[in-house]
């Protein structure tokens, strides 16, 4: 808590805190240094460890080995299967159709990876450690939300783009390439750049949506909590008076953050599914209108976009 309050700039609590950085030199904004380890990378590693060590083991527990018992999940596996089945039947199958089982493992991984990273970001590791061991002289940022880093979300979005393009070419073939020029051929000089930009925009939006949502909630919490310190400076009574609603509000916002953690992971995985489906299920159509009519899920994408921006 004290660390949370240790800076007047709420962004400090949200951004990455490198533990070990290699200076590459040069004055480029992005490539002048190389972060070897940071609080967010550590949290991402922790999320990966939880997934690999715990979720893999707990996720495939079944009641028995043979017969019907082998089809019945037990304990945590119920949650895993609930999510998996939902994504497979409700999200992937309506859009991916016959290709569902080919891509579903990727979609599941995207969801669980982002969801775990988001949840890890809600854990106040450093605050808890300082509460137990006392404030060290040189505090180290332990916790952090890996998905509140645009580099992380952009990398994940690029993975989705790679899935779109590679599988679009592999499965759609020339139809996928033709899909970049949905109109008559003489319109190609106009349409192809627009379509390419469109793909880029989808990926960009995907990365920014997750990044901004994860960062915004944490900034809000930091700002809220910083009020208590300022209030205590004005007097004990004011401090208590402000702290009570702030703490209650923080608890409420933490619950909201829990929901957002799941929602944003879902949206990322959902849009990944849609984008892959749009690349894979390209058909030759003379009229672009028909093409859109084939994809009722596009409307859902727009709704989700609105929902995401509303946060």
């Amino acid at each position: 808590m004290s660390l949370m309050l240790a800076s007047s700039n709420p962004l400090t609590h949200v951004v990455q805190h490198p533990w070990y950085t290699v200076e590459l030199g040069g004055d480029s904004l992005f490539f002048s240094k190389f972060t070897v380890l940071s609080n967010q990378i550590a949290m991402m590693l922790l999320a990966a460890l939880i997934l690999v060590l715990f979720v893999v083991r707990a996720g495939k527990k079944r009641r028995g080995r043979d017969g019907i018992d082998a089809l019945v999940p037990v304990g945590f596996a119920n949650f895993v299967e609930l999510v998996c089945e939902y994504f497979r039947d409700q999200v992937a199958r309506p859009t991916l159709g016959a290709h569902t089982d080919r891509f579903i493992k990727y979609i599941w991984t995207v969801f669980f990876f982002i969801f775990t990273c988001n949840l890890m970001g809600l854990m106040p590791f450093d605050a808890a450690a300082y509460l137990v061991m006392g404030m060290p002289e040189h505090p180290v940022h332990l916790g952090g939300t890996a998905t509140a880093n645009i580099w992380v979300t952009a990398t994940l979005a690029v993975c989705t783009m790679a899935m779109m393009i590679v599988n679009g070419l592999r499965i759609g073939g020339t139809a996928y390439l033709a899909h970049f020029c949905p109109g008559p051929l003489y319109m190609a000089p106009l349409l192809v750049p627009v379509e390419i930009l469109g793909t880029g925009a989808k990926i960009f939006a995907l990365a920014v949506r997750l990044f901004a949502n994860m960062m915004a909630g944490h900034i809000l919490l930091a700002v809220l909590l910083s009020f208590t310190l300022s209030a205590f400076a004005l007097g004990y009574a004011t401090g208590v008076g402000v702290t009570i609603p702030v703490v209650l509000g923080s608890v409420a916002i933490n619950f909201l953050e829990l929901f957002v953690a799941a929602l944003q992971a879902f949206i990322f995985a959902f849009l990944t599914t849609l984008f892959i489906a749009m690349s894979v299920n390209v058909h030759h159509h003379d009229d672009h209108g028909d093409h859109r009519a084939d994809e009722p899920a596009l409307g859902a994408e727009m709704d989700l976009d609105e929902a995401a921006h509303a946060h």
Partner: protein
Amino acid sequence: MKLTKQILVTGSVVVGLYAAPALAAAEEHGAANPFAGDLGNAIWTLVIFGIVLLVLGKFLWKPVLNGLQSREEFIAKSLRDADAANKKAEQVLAEYQAQLDKARADATAIVEEGRRDAEAVKRTIQDEARQEAEAMITRAKREIGVARDTALNELYTVGAKLATDVAGKIISRELKPADHERLIQESIAELGRTDVSTN
């Protein structure tokens, strides 16, 4: 506005006093940039996500997907089996219904036939009984007739013999056996005529 400024100033002072080392550490890394990060993050993300994808794909998603698929097949098969069983049951029911209807029709036919046979038998028995009764009556009449004729003959013979004997005694004249026989025969003939005329 004044309050905000006040809050900011006092906040900064308290924060500075309270956690100077932390602030120093934060300032060490420069101003907080919301887009903080570099290629290191991207490579780490790629590596970690790749490993998670591989490990989960092999050790978790494979069994989960197999489970989902086999459950799907199991449910589909169960539904198909149930449907087939239902159709079979309906078919069997229809067969049994048909058999039942046929049996009922047969039973009705049998009862009807039985009734007809019984009627016929009744009629036959009545006819036979009637014929037999008529035959018995006829025979009885015939036997009565024969017995009457025999009795009458006997009566005539005895009557004639008696009359002859009486007449012979009366006239005390011995008749020769030939005369005797002739007289008897005449008497019978006369009696016969008398009987016919009197009957």
